[in-house]
């Protein structure tokens, strides 16, 4: 199945995430990743949804049925900036510390916590780079890890602000 990235602007009402997720569940669509957060416009939230589907058009139409959905863009084919953050806690013994610090620099990651036997690294990048970083760091012994999921923005002038959509609707 093809992987699609959808950027969805919604009204920031209680339950709106639940409505979107519930629709995916009941229609049997497969969410690979979903991130939601505030935008530049108060009252408008933005979701980046990565979905596996052979019929993304139908997914988009079903999402549009939700009253609070303002705009959906399928940016799969667009040039985009894709970012994801990961926090990794490693078991660290003295002998590996220098090697890990060097790798962290190569990936422009940050060491954000150092304790006697552990180290927490924060790393941000495109999904492939994050995958790559995790592969490289894994042999040192990962104790905990959390990825944020992907947030996406189209490069250049294309794209929508929440305010613009609200204004259009008010006309």
């Amino acid at each position: 199945m093809k992987i699609h990235t959808l950027v969805v602007l919604v009204q920031d009402h209680p339950g709106v995430l639940n409505r979107a997720v519930s629709m995916f569940r009941r229609r049997g669509y497969n969410i690979a990743s979903l991130v939601v957060g505030h935008t530049e416009t108060p009252g408008v939230s933005r979701m980046t949804i990565v979905v596996e589907s052979d019929n993304v058009e139908q997914v988009v139409k079903q999402l549009y049925r939700l009253v609070e959905v303002l705009k959906i863009s399928d940016v799969t084919e667009d040039p985009v900036v894709d970012r994801e953050m990961v926090l990794v806690k490693l078991h660290v013994t003295g002998q590996h510390r220098a090697e890990i610090v060097a790798l962290t620099e190569v990936f422009t990651a940050k060491i954000v916590d150092v304790a006697t036997n552990t180290m927490v690294i924060e790393m941000t990048g495109g999904p492939a780079k994050v995958d790559n970083f995790i592969d490289v760091i894994r042999p040192f012994g990962i104790k905990e890890m959390m990825r944020t999921g992907r947030i996406t923005m189209v490069r250049g002038a294309k794209g929508h602000s929440g305010a613009e959509l609200i204004d259009q609707a008010a006309e």
Binding site: Q11, G15, M23, Q62, V67, L165, Q168, A169
Partner: protein
Amino acid sequence: MSEKRTGAQILCESLIQNGVDTMFGIPGGAIMPFYHAMWEYRTDLRHILCRHEQGAGHAAEGYARSTGRIGVCIGTSGPGTTNLVTPIADAWMDSTPLLAICGQVSSAVLGKDAFQETDITGITMPITKHNYLVKNINDIAYVVKEAIHIATTGRYGPVLVDITKDALQATAVPDYSKKIFLPGYRPTITGSKKQIKAALSLMLKSKKPILMIGNGVMMSDASAEVRVFAERYKIPVITTLHGLGAFPEDHELSLGMPGMHGWVHANRAIQEADFLMNIGGRFDDRVTGKASTFAPNARIVHVDIDPSEIGKNIEVEIPIVGDARIVALSMLEEEPEEKLVAEFHKNAAEWLTYIRELQTKHQHKQQYLNRPDTSTMLPHDVFAALTKQINTRGNYRVVTDVGQHQMWAAQLLDWYKPRTHITSGGAGTMGFAVPAAMGVAVAHPEDTVWAIAGDGGFQMTNQEMIVIIQENIKNMKIAIINNGFLGMVRQWQELFEGKRYSGTPLTSPNFQKLAEAYGWTGITVESVDQIDAAIERAYAIDGPVLIDFRVEREVNVFPMVPQNKSIGEMITE
């Protein structure tokens, strides 16, 4: 307007301002403040006390489907609202404008498993067009306005408003002026002119065209426009279950119902057509049979107000998103070349003649009636008598339940006028007929409203019969097609499961006596020669009458397309 009101008073005033005059419901703890306020507004806001919230919900659906206006039902928190779930799901599937008003526990105890607390907005999220949890008195007025707007525009559907008890009890100066602001909700009403032109030019190139009309034509009151369109181009018209009545069945262009229990000629016409325009139908699997085999030769145009219906079940060549009536009007504005139209007429006429020949070969409607031995009473005898008397007398509405009788009614009664056939289609909710007919009877006191049900479905909601007496409703009759089985399941067991009648034989009470216990007139009919007299008596009595038609037990609905087969493969006997 500057005086303070309680939330409950604001709720009443908002409902009245938004055109509500009738509500069906049952009170309880959390919703009591609303009932307290309702008393002041009772001349403008009629409340009909039902016996089960499911009955209230279906009654509101009947009211809505027969009028096109919002139907309102009320339940208290907890079980009061969970009992509304079935009618809400039914309204969702059949695009019925329904407003469900629910009492909720006070906001202070919300989320703490308080007495009669249920997360009804969570439960109904997948089966409502939208829903609200209102915790603040200042939200009541515009939420009601917004909810009714959403339910009655675009593709109609159910909206639920859950209001906490403290919001109903609080007092505030109401503000009814706040405008609806729904930036994410802007239904497309006008069809694209370009698509409409393309659809017409595609149609005019075809030799075997079919026009299929469904619920959308009913809901947007497009019957007249669609008829003019069909007549102008002389296209044969197929009416789906929810389209019955949207095009008169005695019209020379009418082919009747398609699908699982549709007519052989209608299904064959679809399978042989080279062009099919579906207005306001959603290509339900009961219409299409196995979707990949549906209308294999046809180039398809789909007119629907909901873009998500287009391409969902059947791939189409030309989608037109818009309201059925507005799109039909736009199609009528088009003036294609006379020469093309004349050629099209010629081909369409040959095509219609061909379909009529098919119809003569596969004539089911009358064959049972011409049988030599009428010592047993078939459902067909009952429906023949009903359609004759119903149509002769006029001013009627028919509400059917779900199962064999529903299909016989669709097939064997004659449908001429929109909103005269009301049934539970998409959800297939047994127990729909009696309460929904009550809602129709309330909305149309001038019409005789027939609820037709099987002995199974009837027993799921017959408690609502007493509401008819309490409310002094005189214009409702019930016909039970009583065959002592859950008949449609039994039919499948007979045809596909070696007659293993597991869980289908059904013992019933004496329905005549049951009717009398409720204060209705009850009649039992056991043979063909009693049918006419019973129906005549039902009409002669100015009040509710129930007729128990004890028909032959093991009769099947034919024609039939087995599940997931092509509609070209019909079992006819």
